[in-house]
Structure formats: structure tokens, C-alpha cells
């Protein structure tokens, strides 16, 4: 085809089967190894880290390896007076950590143990007149926060508390000429933002705004000859995009458009056979973030040894069945 694309080559000795138990052990023992220091240097993403770790465990059927009441106690301590959750005790509340907190509580069926009215009030207060959401009181706007706000409220069964029409209007204004979505109106399309926007529209029941064929093509163009997916044109493949691209394709009913076998091969090659866990690319350092998205990606691709994952909220389907959340799929 004339020109080469940026890509990687999967080493011939890379893992080819899923090391399920190793991943559970990896998550449980995470942090005992000094090497992991580089990834989670501080507590500023503790709540997200707990969500990644606990959801990974839940997907491999080992959530019982963690102490439920202690986790819940930590999450409760992170709820601030304003209602939002911080990433760790004594930090400032943010929508990113608030969604992780609500997801953790949902995993443990413990949402009732927090002050849900206060969370709802706080999330409402972050919505702007154009429908967008601030991530916290400092005013950063991003479609990630639109997703976080709507996902939290959906999990709490209180979606009607915000102006959903306006929220949808803002997200739709971030749709680009290539059919994909960016952070803010005019920002470049990015698979991570696509996931947030498509997920938000699914929860709001407004997927008709998406040009599913055009977006689907843009998403499946993210697959490279190695089988891995990238986040934007001319970027390297990365396991976390296996989740964002795949989940988006699943939501818009186009998952079968990519080459599943090659993607499975790529994801499996990103495992570390010795330590467990997944890395961004074969041979790199593993971390809980890529471990969750590797497992969740495999689940969407039909690996039945991993529990079925919900493509909108990245949580085990069986836990969400009890909820009354309406997910729209195309």
C-alpha cells in the first residue's frame, strides 16, 4: 500500500493464552513490589486505582480476595462535605474520583451507605449553561466529565436531576467531521473521548445523534496490522484502547467490524507471564490500569473465562442486572 504505518511487531515468544489466576494474584499483591512505585506514585489516583484493581478482580471472579468493609470505609472517608469524592482522604473532590467511588460502592452493593443526595447535588452544581460539566470547582471542561456525571447519576438512579438535553447538546457539539469525538468543541478526535461521548449518549438514550457507520469506520481504522488498536491516527497501539475502541464499537453495534482474532492475539501478548498483569504493549511494564482494560477487552471479544463486562460502565454485567439503568445499544 505504499506507505508504512506506525506499529509494533509481536514477539514470537509472547504469551498466547490468558493467565487468569496470575492476574488476580498480581492485583492482590500490587504495591508490595517497589517497581510499581513509578506507576502510582502517590495517592492522587488512589480511588481510580482501587476501581481498576477491584473491577479486574471482579471480572476474574476473585472480588472476595479483598476486604469489603475496609474498602467501603476508605471510600466513605473520601466523601467531602460538598458531596463529591476525592481520590484519597484529605484531597479535593473531583468527578473522576467520584465516578470511581460510586462504581466501587456498586461493586459491593453498598451505594446506600453514602449520602447520595449530597453527591447528586454536587454533580448538579458542576453542570454549566451550555450543558457541559466542570470536573471540579476549578472549571476544566471535558467530555470525560460529561460521561462521569451521567454515569454517576445513572448508577444512583437519579439521571433526571440534571438537564440531560443540554448535556447531550454539549457532547454532540464535540462531534467532528470524521464522525468521532474530542474533549471540547473543535478538539481532535480521540478514542478515549469517543468512549466517553458514546457511553454518555447510551445512558441518555440519545445514540441517534451518532453517525454509526462513519464513526464505526473511524473506530475500526484504529486497528493496525499487529492487531492492536491506537487512539488516534499515526499513534502506536495500546491495550487501553482495546477497551475504549471496542466498547464504543459494541455500544454502536459494530464490534464485528474489526479483526477479533488479531486483537485477541495482541492483548494476550501484553501479559507478563511472570508477574501477571497487562502492559500497554508487549514487553512493557504491567500496571492495574492496563490490566483492567486488557481483561475487559477480552471479555467483550467473547472470552468466557472472564465475566461478561458492561461496555458502557466497564463493570461486570451480573452486578448491573439488579439496577434499573437503561443502556441504549445500536
Amino acid at each position: 500500500m505504499g506507505t508504512s504505518v506506525k506499529d509494533i511487531v509481536i514477539p514470537s515468544n509472547a504469551p498466547k493464552s490468558l493467565l487468569l489466576l496470575k492476574h488476580a494474584d498480581y492485583i492482590v499483591s500490587y504495591g508490595e513490589k517497589k517497581d510499581d512505585y513509578e506507576y502510582v506514585m502517590t495517592e492522587y489516583l488512589r480511588m481510580n486505582g482501587m476501581y481498576w484493581g477491584l473491577t479486574s478482580l471482579a471480572l476474574v471472579g476473585h472480588l472476595d480476595k479483598m476486604n469489603r468493609s475496609e474498602v467501603i470505609e476508605f471510600v466513605l472517608k473520601c466523601q467531602q462535605d460538598c458531596g463529591g469524592f476525592s481520590c484519597s482522604i484529605g484531597h479535593d473532590p473531583h468527578l473522576l474520583s467520584t465516578l470511581s467511588a460510586i462504581q466501587i460502592l456498586t461493586l459491593y452493593d453498598a451505594v446506600e451507605s453514602v449520602n447520595t443526595d449530597a453527591v447528586v447535588r454536587w454533580i448538579k452544581s458542576l453542570q454549566q449553561t451550555d450543558g457541559s460539566f466542570y470536573g471540579d470547582k476549578w472549571g476544566e471542561v471535558d467530555t470525560r466529565f460529561s460521561f462521569c456525571a451521567v454515569a454517576c447519576l445513572a448508577l444512583l438512579g437519579r439521571l433526571d436531576e440534571i438537564n440531560v438535553d443540554k448535556a447531550v447538546e454539549f457532547v454532540v457539539s464535540c462531534m467532528n467531521f470524521d464522525g468521532a469525538f474530542g474533549c471540547r468543541p473543535g478538539s481532535e478526535s480521540h478514542s478515549g473521548q469517543v468512549y466517553c461521548c458514546v457511553g454518555m449518549l447510551s445512558l441518555a438514550g440519545r445514540l441517534h445523534h451518532v453517525n454509526a457507520d462513519q464513526l464505526g469506520w473511524w473506530l475500526c481504522e484504529r486497528q493496525l496490522p499487529s492487531g492492536g488498536l491506537n487512539g488516534r491516527p499515526e499513534k502506536l497501539p495500546d491495550v487501553c484502547y482495546s477497551w475504549w475502541v471496542l466498547a464504543s464499537l459494541k455500544i454502536i453495534g459494530r464490534l464485528h467490524w474489526i479483526d477479533k482474532n488479531k486483537l485477541v492475539e495482541f492483548i494476550l501478548a501484553c501479559q507478563d507471564e511472570e508477574t501477571g498483569g497487562f502492559a500497554d504493549r508487549p514487553g512493557d511494564m504491567v500496571d492495574p490500569f492496563h490490566t483492567l482494560f486488557g481483561l475487559a477487552g477480552l471479555s467483550l471479544l467473547g472470552d468466557t473465562t472472564v465475566k461478561a463486562v458492561n461496555p458502557v460502565l466497564c463493570m461486570p454485567e451480573e452486578l448491573l442486572k439488579k439496577s434499573k439503568i437503561q443502556f441504549q445499544y445500536l
Binding site: 506507505t3 466517553c196 496490522p225 499515526e234 479483526d259
Partner: protein, 327 residues
Amino acid sequence: MSECNVDDAASNEAWVPFKDRPEWRDLKPIPQDDGPDPVVQIAYSEQFREVYDYFRAIIAADEKSERALSLTKEAAELNPANYSVWNYRRNILQELNKDLKEELKYISQVIEDNPKNYQVWHHRRVIVEWLEDVTDELKFTEKILKEDAKNYHAWQHRQWCIQQFSLWDQELDYVDRLLKEDLRNNSAWNQRHFIIKNTTGYTDEIIKKELKYSQDFIRKAPNNESAWNYMKGVLQERKLFDFPGVLEFCHELYSKQIRSPFLIACMIDCYEEMLELGKPKKEETLQKATQLCNELAEEHDTLRREYWQYIARSLASKYGADVSGDS
């Protein structure tokens, strides 16, 4: 979604522990409450632990002082992604009425060391907002984009500045320069669309100009996804046939044995539009389109076979009962 990488802790040279600094003797550090048995435990270095113990202490005391300001600097150096540190630093800057020009210089340095970090860019934006002065911003983002032409944060900041302070005039020249350096720079193509959409808009005249512009780049590298997407984006609200030449352009490349999937995809789009518009020779057009889908599925883009088979099927079911794209 969070950044996939975290920068290394600041260098440790000549660091004096807080317990050995006389000016901090009055403050009692507050250790981190990790919660019991945390799932994601974090290994702290001594320096890290101490700086953050004191940071917690100044927040608890709501202290907004020079020493607190310099402490936030140390804390930010150890972890520039900690948003609470930047939040508190801004509170102090306001309270002490600090020189924001100096702060801008400082954050420039931090961003240069950590260009892929949400918090440091947000801090910069707040400072620029407070200053209402955008003098250095284009130059600064250019410097960052010189290192990494696709840095998402730098582009976001640049777009915000351009929009907020009406800096539209020179931007197309800049984009042009970037595309000449790297015609696959998707961020630059996106910026081109952003500028035109917000200034002249895509008028007939501009569309003709932009079609030629993108086609010249496509001739140089026919398999460049970004340029093809831009070219089709230009015609987003029009028909491909409102501006003659698109299909001819494709034929020109195709006749030179170029088989880029983006080229063939564009030809299929043209044929689909002809069918939609009810142009004559319907069966022949449909035949051509489905044949191209099959070429892609079987030869030029096998990774996306399912997609091309779907397109062939849906064309066949919409525009003709007899022709099936399935192989």
C-alpha cells in the same frame, strides 16, 4: 481515563528534610491516612512522604504564606499530577496577590518537563485567564508542539487561547508549516478544520481551495488517513458531486495502480452518492461499488473485511435486489 504514564520524581540532590529546616519547626506534619489494607498500595520515598505530610499540615491549618507557596512547589515537583497541590497553590497566589507573570514563567518550565499532564496545563490556563494576557501563549505551545506535534493538551490550550483572544489571523500559516513538515499530523489537519470553520466557514470558494489543498497532499502520500478524512470533512455538509472532480481525482490515482483503502473507500462513497441521487446506469454503478468493496475485503484491507462486506451488503439491499456483496 487517566494518563498512562507518570513522570519520575524530582531529583533528590541537596534536599534538606523539613524536620531539619528551622522555618518549619512550628508545624506538625500530618501523615497520610492510607485507609486500611489499601488495594493499590503506594510505596513512598522518604522525601515524598515528608513533603506531603507537611502539605497536609498547611492545608489543615489553612496557611497561605510564602513558605506554603514554596512547599507547593516542592510537592508539585515530586508529583505534578496532584491536582490538590495546584488547587491550593492557586488559593495562595490569590491570597498573597503574587506576580502572575512570574507564575507563568514557572509553569512554563513545569510544562516543558511534564508536557502530558492535565493539571499543569489547567494551571497555566487559569493563570492566563487571571492575567488576561495571551502574549506568550502561541509561542509557548509551538515550542511544546515542536517536541511532540500531537500533544493533545498543547493543542487544547492553543485552541482555547485562539478562541478566547481572537488569535485567528496567523494560524493557517502555522498549520500549513506543520503539514509540510509532517503530512500525517492529524492534529494539524484538525486545527485546519477548526480555524476555517470558525473564521470564513466552508464557502464554495473555500471548499474548492481546500479540496485542492488536501488532494495535493494525498498525491504525495495516498495512504494518509488524516488527509482523506479532512478532504471528506470539507464536503461534510455538501454532496461529493456538488464539487466536480472528486471522483475524477480518485480515478486518476486508481489508474496509477494506487490501492490505498482510503482511496477506494472514497470511490465507494462517490458511487453510493450517485445511487442515492438516482443517477443513470444504476446497475453498473452498484456493480462497481460492490466490486471495490470485495477488493478491499479480499485484498487491500483484509483486517476490516467484515466492514467492507457490510457496506457491500447494505448497498446491494438498498439499491439492487440482485447484486450481493458477499463472497
